[in-house]
Symmetry: C2
Subunit: 149 residues, 2 copies
């Protein structure tokens, strides 16, 4: 159940980037909003029959440039896509399963997240690096693969 402002905000961000909010792009955003975890291109094509692979790549690139979508690249064969945190207001990190390649979201407590961000800001100030984003990935084995393997 996407928030009512989801498509409105997306449209706005695309417009700001001189891009149109076409029906395909709207459908992509809807699928990503419904997904419980970041999706690969094959998974997106499965959930959106009739979508050409090249259009998926192109539209996701457009959505990424507009800040609507985030691309996650693991050592897995496919990249994965999810809605940007700025859009979902849902701060989270990733559990990456080395067995099945799946990516699951998790959250830290606000306190720890805040501590971490403060430390990173201090580090950035020290080094002159400008932080755009941070990404905490946990690599290991998910419960499903742990029992099934």
């Amino acid at each position: 159940m996407p928030a009512p402002t989801l498509h409105a905000t997306t449209a706005q961000w695309l417009t700001k980037d001189n891009q149109r909010y076409t029906s395909q792009r709207r459908a992509l955003v809807a699928v990503l909003a419904d997904a419980v975890q970041p999706l690969t291109i094959p998974q997106l094509l499965e959930r959106q029959p009739g979508l050409a692979q090249s259009s998926a790549y192109r539209n996701l690139a457009v959505l990424e440039r507009a800040g609507v979508v985030r691309r996650i690249v693991t050592s897995d064969e496919f990249a994965r896509y999810e809605l940007a945190e700025e859009l979902t207001h849902h701060h989270h990190h990733h559990l990456i399963c080395t067995d099945c390649g799946g990516v699951t979201d998790f959250e830290l407590s606000d306190a720890i997240e805040h501590t971490l961000e403060t430390a990173l800001a201090a580090m950035a100030a020290r080094t002159g690096f400008v932080i755009r984003d941070h990404q905490l990935d946990i690599v290991g084995t998910c419960p499903k693969c742990r029992s099934g393997g």
Copy 2:
């Protein structure tokens, strides 16, 4: 200046994995030990003339399986390689510059690192996920690109 135990430990880990510590692999480890940041394959080939590209890929895969080397994959075109933390005893994270693609290491204070690890362990216990490793990446712009761009 590599620690005296570097090659000894590497040899031991490779042997445990039924792999030989050939001169090429030794040279790769030496180059990585000298590097101040994770290196791409082209950078490795530059620093080790005469090394075949395919051998670089193959040997780095062997070293990665043995736990000697860690492969870092960003959205950049090339993957990057560095010595594993278990070998350098040097806990660190990565600053990834979206401009030049460079990866720079940084450390958090022991206190924050410990807080973070405790929180992650609790999360793992809650979800049933088995943690092998965690990776904290900061995405942004490095000082060089910030002034030069």
